[in-house]
């Protein structure tokens, strides 16, 4: 079609573009502010009026990864010259590095629990989605609705008995416990999305494979899985983002060993009040992977966030 009477005029397009770009820029301000604050010094971060121009500093990042203790000027004099830039920054504040902070550990917990639960949700979810898509399962619609309805429960409502159950089984504050829990939450999304993707693969491919002497399982992993690879990958990223961002269960069921980053970041406190640059540095490092995934994922976004209810 070369010409359509419904195509908007170029003036309309310009106005629409202007409004949308204005909204986008306004909406970006808070995120940019997080990023910028991470490179400020603590006094710069709380100055009035808020500073847009400042000398960038890595103090926020140094403070994020270390714990520090205050020393007297005499003790400071007696120390050998600073071995690296981090020590130099800390000494300018009349302190020395006492050790690493817990941020690295918490971040790794997020990685382990995120990837662990994603792997498990995709493994179980793909099997279930294939089962629902290809077999006559008794009470299929009821089961599918049941799987969906598990998402309507407020997390705190299930957290009470899970807290008690985990305490009995010794699963509280363990990686395994959190992985199982996040898998249970994610699996509803995984099954619904993956079923949509598998429904789109023509049955004829598998039937041909069955006739060639493949068993059902062989047909599943040699024919269906490769075809569904894109769908599986985008579902996996959605599961990962959920587990990465989750807070309510993490704050209730973990305290130290398996605590993830979201409950930890708000508790970063400096000497004398909240250390905003360190908080901002932590938030930046934590949010960045998701921002990158979102940009890669933009084509699949809609399907993922609406449980496959809207396909485009």
């Amino acid at each position: 079609m070369s010409y359509s009477i419904t195509e908007p005029s170029s003036r309309q397009k310009t106005v629409a573009g202007f409004l949308v770009i204005t909204y986008s820029l306004v909406t970006l301000i808070p995120l940019l502010w997080v990023f910028i604050t991470g490179f400020k010094t603590p006094p710069d971060s709380i100055s009035y009026p808020p500073k847009v121009f400042f000398t960038p500093s890595l103090e926020g990042y140094v403070n994020l990864f270390t714990t520090r203790t205050r020393v007297t000027p005499e003790q400071l004099e007696a120390l050998p010259p600073p071995a690296n830039f981090a020590e130099e920054i800390v000494r300018n504040r009349k302190m020395v590095i006492a050790g690493p902070s817990k941020f690295g550990e918490r971040f790794m917990n997020s990685v382990i629990i995120g990837f662990g639960s994603t792997f498990l949700s995709i493994f179980l979810g793909t099997l279930a989605a294939y089962g629902f898509s290809r077999f006559k399962v008794p009470l299929k619609d009821d089961l599918l609705f049941f799987i969906l309805s598990t998402r309507m429960m407020p997390p705190i409502a299930v957290a009470i008995p899970i807290f008690l159950m985990y305490r009995k089984l010794g699963l509280s504050d363990t990686h395994l416990g959190m992985i199982l829990l996040y898998t249970a939450v994610n699996i509803s999304l995984a099954v619904w999305l993956l079923k949509g993707f598998i429904d789109e693969i023509p049955r004829e491919y598998e039937e041909a494979a069955l006739i060639d002497g493949y068993t059902r399982f062989q047909a599943f992993y040699k024919v269906v899985l490769p075809q569904a690879a894109t769908g599986i990958a985008s579902t996996a990223i959605f599961c990962l983002i959920f587990a990465w961002n989750e807070y309510a269960f993490a704050v209730l069921l973990t305290s130290g060993n398996a605590q993830t980053a979201p409950p930890f970041i708000p508790t970063i406190i400096g000497v004398g009040g909240l250390d905003w640059p360190a908080v901002a540095a932590g938030a930046t490092l934590f949010l960045l992977p998701v921002l990158i995934f979102t940009i890669f994922l933009r084509k699949h976004l809609l399907r993922g966030i609406t449980f496959g209810a809207v396909r485009k």
Partner: protein, 315 residues
């Protein structure tokens, strides 16, 4: 048709028999595929739910596991329904729910409509708009407390820049009048893109020829909007409202980080109070009953809503 006689023979065999010959029956196989998922959900979703129901009839306190558990019938439920604080929580939740949905639908639909003009670079800017929604609500909420600081916060500074009000004269999170709006602003900032994406899918599903026909009939743009665009996007819009409604009824992480329910209990949404009852006051039986009431409310409202949605779709 293939020339291979074996293939022809296999194709001629009735399918059920062919499958049975290969070992497991279809039904048995189906359970191998579906079973593990159902088992996991039973263990970590349904079993806890039943346990919650059971606990809701008791006076159990999780911090005193050795105390004798007494069944007290419906007394927990009675107490909750007569508790004035709980009704205040419900009001706070309703205020939050209604305003976030109204704002997100209006702004989200307007944005989708503008993006659907297909100006140059529209797909790039769509991705930019979507970013806030993918982030961790707790971390985002925590950071907005910094933006909302009186005096040093960027939000107050920008407001004072445009209106001339002294930036230290108002506290978004600390004042009883402003705190309910401060959480609505952050939720709207975060989730408007969600409504926008769904509306956009709705707008793009309307075929061009309908507009072309309307244009030939000389229907005004205004008329086209009310008789074509809006009715055809309505099912999508309603779906967006359903998703946002369920999510915001459960709202916890964002608001807990922003206000923690304060000042006083003006922004204490249902989930926040539930957390306090269950994990700070340790009134396990009482809070289990509260959890069940919340769950039944979401489930009931959602079911009624889905029925209405299906009616709109059928039209």
């Amino acid at each position: 048709m293939s020339e291979n006689p074996i293939e022809r023979a296999a194709a001629a065999t009735p399918q059920p028999i062919a499958r049975n010959v290969r070992g497991l029956s279809d039904r048995a196989l189906a359970w191998w595929f579906v079973g593990p998922t159902i088992a996991l959900l039973l263990a970590i979703n349904i079993f806890p739910l039943i346990w919650t129901i059971n606990l809701s009839f008791t006076n159990f306190k999780a911090n005193r596991p050795n105390r004798e558990i007494k069944y007290i019938g419906l007394r927990n439920y009675e107490r909750i329904l007569n508790d004035a604080d709980i009704w205040l929580n419900m009001q706070a939740t309703a205020h939050f729910l209604i305003w976030t949905i109204v704002l997100q639908v209006l702004i989200g639909f307007a944005l989708a409509w503008l993006i659907n003009r297909n100006f140059r670079g529209s797909s790039f800017w769509t991705t930019v708009i979507v970013l806030p929604m993918m982030l961790s609500p707790a971390v985002v909420g925590n950071f907005w407390t910094f933006l909302y600081q009186p005096q040093i916060g960027l939000f107050n500074y920008i407001v004072s820049f445009f209106t001339g009000v002294d930036p230290s004269s108002f506290e978004m999170l600390g004042s009883v009048d402003l705190a309910p709006w401060s959480i609505i602003i952050v939720d709207t900032w975060m989730w408007t893109p969600f409504v926008m994406l769904i509306c956009l899918a709705g707008l793009r599903s309307i075929p061009d020829y309908i507009y072309e026909a309307a244009e030939i009939d000389r229907a005004s743009r205004w008329r086209q909007f009310w008789t074509i665009t809006l009715p055809m996007v309505l099912p999508f819009l309603m779906l967006a409202v359903l998703f946002r409604g369920i999510e915001n009824f459960k709202m916890f992480d964002l608001v807990v980080q922003l206000t923690g329910g304060g000042p006083g209990s003006i922004t204490e949404l249902a989930s926040i109070n539930l957390k306090r009852e269950a994990f700070e006051k340790w009134r396990t039986g009482y809070s289990s009953a509260f959890a069940i009431i919340l769950f039944v409310t979401v489930f009931g409202l959602a079911s009624i809503y889905v029925k209405a949605l299906n009616k709109v779709k059928e039209r």
